[in-house]
């Protein structure tokens, strides 16, 4: 997976999506790649997993060879207008930027193209071997992945339209892009993962996703439980395990990550995930 140029990590809220994104970025960094980790959604998802303060729009080196940034829409927009659309002196055109920002509130595909567009521009740059995006949850991921297509439907001509075409190509290229869906072997995340898989299959925007099931318990040998606290623990573990097996059957994952007991900070969780992923690959 690390030979791709872009890994987009999504999943239902609460499944550990940001932790997996951070773990993947750390693993790539340890393998000597030049990595950019991008926080797309609400602030704090990635930064807490790297144990650093809030990220900014300008990439900051959080480990040797690993940079991280947060997409601030207004700044991405200004950059988009000035560099990508080659509008000279856009800084003085504050009004245009403000108008676009307001437009982005009302015309959703525009908001999303600015975010996904920024990521795809970074992929195009030779500065990074790999870009890892901590993407919005699966409930919203469709509108981001579809943004370039939505734009070409919404805007029949113009410079934005021309760009939406290479964005669509990059997203669909199996050598470039890998979507990762993080899930849990539980009812709601499994249902949402299946819905997302169906949407992806129907829309064919990105190559088939890789499904990672998180917090998977190990099987406990089926011996009669002793009494007392240890017996209670064994009973609970077995019963949670068999519920998990049910959902693993419904949504067979490509990779599983173990339940991580007794970790205190998001930084510990991400480091542990990168160890586990290294052992798996």
């Amino acid at each position: 997976m690390l030979d791709k140029r872009l890994i987009i990590v999504s999943g239902k809220g609460g499944v550990g999506k940001s932790a997996v994104a951070a773990g993947l970025a750390l693993l790539a960094q340890r393998n000597g790649l030049r990595v950019l980790a991008v926080e797309m959604g609400s602030s704090g998802g990635l930064s807490t997993h790297f144990s650093v303060g809030p990220l900014e729009f300008k990439p900051r080196e959080v480990r040797p060879g690993l940079h991280a940034m947060h997409i601030v829409r207004s700044e991405a927009l200004l950059e988009y207008l000035s560099i990508q659309l080659r509008l000279p002196g856009i800084g003085r055109f504050g009004a245009v930027a403000r108008a676009f920002d307001a437009l982005a509130t009302a015309a959703p595909a525009i908001r999303e193209i600015i975010t996904i567009g920024k990521i795809l521009w970074e992929v195009r740059e030779d500065r990074w071997d790999l870009v890892v995006a901590d993407a919005p949850p699966t409930g919203q991921i469709g509108s981001y992945l579809r943004a370039p297509i939505s734009i070409s439907e919404l805007v029949p001509t113009g410079r934005i339209r021309a760009q939406s075409e290479w964005m669509t190509t990059t997203l669909g290229d199996p050598d470039m892009t890998q979507l990762v869906i993080v899930t849990l072997p539980e009812e709601l995340p499994s249902t949402e993962t299946l819905e997302t898989m169906r949407w992806l299959e129907d829309n064919q925007i990105v190559p088939p996703p890789l499904v990672i099931s998180n917090r998977v318990l190990s099987e406990l040998e089926d011996k009669p439980s002793p009494g007392g606290v240890v017996g209670e623990i064994a009973d609970l573990h077995r019963s949670l395990w068999s519920e998990q097996q049910h959902w693993l059957g419904k949504v067979p994952p490509d990779l599983t990550l173990p339940y991580m007991f007794g970790l205190f900070t998001p930084g510990e969780v991400a480091a542990r995930i990168s160890d586990e992923l290294e052992a798996l690959t």
Binding site: K12, G13, G14, V15, G16, S18, S42, G44, T48, L81, L85, F93, V96, R98, A99, F100, A102, L103, T105, A106, A107, P108, A109, P137, G139, Q140, L154, V155, P156, T157, G158, R159, I160, R161, L184, E187, L188, P189, T191, L220, E221, K223, P226, G228, V229, V230, E232, I233, A234, D235, L236, H237, S239, L240, F261, G262, L263, F264, T265, P266
Partner: protein, 344 residues
């Protein structure tokens, strides 16, 4: 007077289950209770006796004081805007592609719709208690900021810039010679995209007074509610819960309690392991033991740092398929300040 409990917290921590369990507990205390949920698991929905999105409040067959409703947030946002629009504006909006796009994707729209719907139920005065399970979109805090954000959207920042003033007539929009910026924008976006958006915003703008007034009513309901924050002891949801404790006092009101869901029994923290225990089970018992200690530390730190009332609900391996199961889950909880949130 109808009391309100708003259940909030990060995604995946069990908000919907706890909202339902609080509702059952209240109903069994003799309160006529309505549970408003957004996206329950199928088993939970059937336990509550509701099956479809957009379901009106329905009384439970076996629990006459318990009512439940399931919101279809995208549909009700549209309904809100329509409610405040003149008939001909409503017709145009119904046909406008941006209106549909905005109502499907505007991040606060789901939150706004849920807040509006909940406020309507509270104002109906038909229940003693309304328990609202807030939608997860936008990280939860969104729910509380949604009324103001919605007024801002409808008020039309873009529109004010294009027209440079208050609500214009529809014709004024086409006076583009006066607006060189519009031409720049058009060359980038192509054709008349901006104009079509502006047209939609002009129509939406006519609903502003109604939406803003409604927003103030919704905010009043929120300020008078008891806010209950749900989390697990995992690092990410805890940092979300911290955000609620920091930001909610300014937006609505300070949370009454933080409930740590899926809490392990204290006794598991240092299990006495009988000598005949297998190595494998010994290892598993130690893992769960370390998890128990970590959970306890997370609760203690939260309470010490934010002066929060901390309560717990146990980790249950029972599938919650009926009301008795939900009630039992709540009764195994500890430290929930029932009186302060209006129950018992």
């Amino acid at each position: 007077m109808t009391k309100t409990i708003l259940i909030t917290g990060a995604g995946g921590v069990g908000k919907t289950t706890i909202a339902a369990a609080v509702g059952v507990t209240a109903a069994r205390e003799g309160l006529r209770t309505l549970v408003v949920t957004v996206d329950p698991a199928r088993r939970l929905a059937s336990a509550l006796g509701i099956a479809h999105l957009g379901d009106e409040p329905t009384p439970h067959v076996d629990e006459p004081l318990l009512w439940a409703a399931m919101l279809d947030a995208s549909a009700s946002w549209r309904a809100v805007a329509m409610r405040h629009a003149d008939p001909d504006v409503a017709t145009r909006l119904a046909d406008n592609e941006f209106f549909h796009a905005a109502s499907d994707h505007f991040p606060a729209s789901q939150s706004y719709a849920a807040a509006d719907q909940a406020a309507t139920f509270v104002q109906a005065r038909a229940w003693d208690l309304v328990v609202v399970d807030t939608p997860p979109s936008g990280g939860g805090i969104d729910f509380f900021a949604a009324p103001a954000q919605m007024a801002d959207l409808v008020g039309g920042r873009l529109l004010r810039w294009i027209t440079g003033g208050p609500l214009p007539g529809r014709k004024l929009l086409y006076n583009r010679a006066a607006r060189p910026m519009l031409r720049v924008a058009d060359s980038i976006l192509g054709s008349d995209l901006l104009e079509r958006v502006a047209e939609f915003l002009v129509d939406l703008r006519t609903t502003y007074d109604g939406v803003a007034r409604r927003g103030r009513e919704i905010e009043k309901v929120m300020r008078e509610s008891s806010i209950v924050v749900i989390t697990t002891a995992d690092p990410a949801p805890v940092s979300e819960a911290v955000k609620f404790y920091r930001e909610l006092p300014g937006l609505a009101s300070a949370p009454k309690v933080v409930i740590f869901n899926r809490t392990l029994p204290d006794a598991w923290g240092s299990p006495s392991i009988p000598p005949e225990t297998s190595a494998e089970l010994r290892h598993v018992a130690q893992l769960w033991g370390s998890e128990t200690l970590r959970q306890r530390d997370a609760r203690e730190e939260f309470s010490a740092r934010y002066g929060a009332t901390v309560a717990t609900v146990p980790l249950s391996d029972e599938p919650l398929t009926d009301l008795d199961g939900l009630a039992r889950l709540m009764s195994q909880g500890s430290g929930i300040p029932w009186e302060r949130i209006g129950i018992g």
